[in-house]
């Protein structure tokens, strides 16, 4: 192997990651706004009314993206928590800490929009079905992670304890994903599948995928912004933080 090798550990130092994240946030935010605008016009304006579900199906343009994000963010949180636990890197634990609140909100929105969709289509807001129950457990895992962090004063100890919880809880993610296959659920099967393709009309599918991308961009922007706050808060004793803060005029 010759040529340039990227040193991935270079940006593992919070003081180097901080400006990098700061540069990336406006791009993610702008892309998120543009994609959301396109997705909303397609989903709420152009996509035709569904012949079976009427216009209630339009909830899919929020419900599926937030549900995906709730699972993806949990895996990302557990991954970084695990990296922090094994390699004892501060930034990895900070990333896990920054992902959790957004993940919890996505899980809440998944349940909320699911209830509002379930009522007109199934005739009930809630049912103790495998998919719904495992998603509720995901929300509780996020809340548990955040509470455990909040209960431990020392940040490094909080990192380790909450990492264990996050890693144990990751087993729930495949359960959510495959619940519609493993159990006889009221919840429908996957609308988009890697092996079978999609069961939706093209414009509906495209609108949903664009909305999913918009939520990805939103999550990146918010998590990176939050990790910058966390870096400043937790590294407040470090020389670089003091120098940075004294240079910055209070706004």
């Amino acid at each position: 192997m010759s040529g340039h090798r990227i040193n991935w550990f270079y940006f593992a130092a919070p003081q180097r990651f901080y400006p990098l994240a700061g540069m990336a946030v406006p791009w993610f935010a702008a892309l998120g706004v543009i994609l959301a605008a396109i997705g909303l016009v397609m989903g709420l304006g152009l996509a035709p009314t569904d012949f079976q579900q009427g216009d209630s199906y339009r909830i899919i343009f929020i419900h599926v993206p937030v549900s995906w994000m709730s699972m993806v963010l949990y895996v990302a949180m557990a991954f970084w928590a695990g990296v922090g636990l094994v390699f004892n890197t501060r930034l990895a634990s900070m990333l896990a800490q920054a992902i959790a609140p957004t993940g919890a909100l996505m899980a809440f929105l998944s349940l909320w929009t699911g209830a509002l969709w379930g009522r007109p289509t199934w005739g009930t807001w809630w049912v103790w079905d495998a998919r719904l129950t495992s998603e509720l457990i995901l929300l509780f895992l996020y809340i548990g992670y955040l509470s455990l962090r909040g209960a431990i004063e020392d940040e490094r100890r909080a990192d380790r304890a909450s990492a264990l919880l996050a890693l144990v809880g990751v087993v729930n993610v495949p359960i959510i994903y495959f619940s519609v296959k493993w159990w006889n659920t009221l919840h429908q099967g996957a609308s988009v599948s890697v092996t079978k393709g999609s069961s939706m009309a093209t414009i509906m599918l495209n609108a949903m995928l664009i909305m999913a991308l918009a939520f990805w961009m939103y999550a990146f922007a918010v998590v990176l912004t939050r990790v910058r706050r966390i870096i400043l808060e937790r590294e407040s004793g470090a020389a670089w933080t003091r120098a940075y803060l004294s240079d910055r005029s209070p706004s």
């Binding site: 996509a47 009427g54 909830i59 929020i62 909320w112």
Partner: protein, 52 residues
């Protein structure tokens, strides 16, 4: 490509599913707005420890 709606009132009515559809989109917008607002507040509320 055509709009799915004949009028703005049609759009708001969502074929009779207005509370469910707007309840989903509205609460999602609200939740995201609150998250962004608290992130903003976290920056201004937090004061660095100074040596003065």
């Amino acid at each position: 490509m055509n709009w799915a709606w004949n009028s703005f009132a049609d759009f708001l009515a969502m074929g009779g599913y207005a509370i469910y559809v707007w309840g989903s989109f509205g609460v999602t917008a609200l939740v995201l707005a609150v998250e962004l607002w608290t992130l903003r507040a976290r920056r201004t509320a937090w004061q660095p420890e100074t040596d003065e």
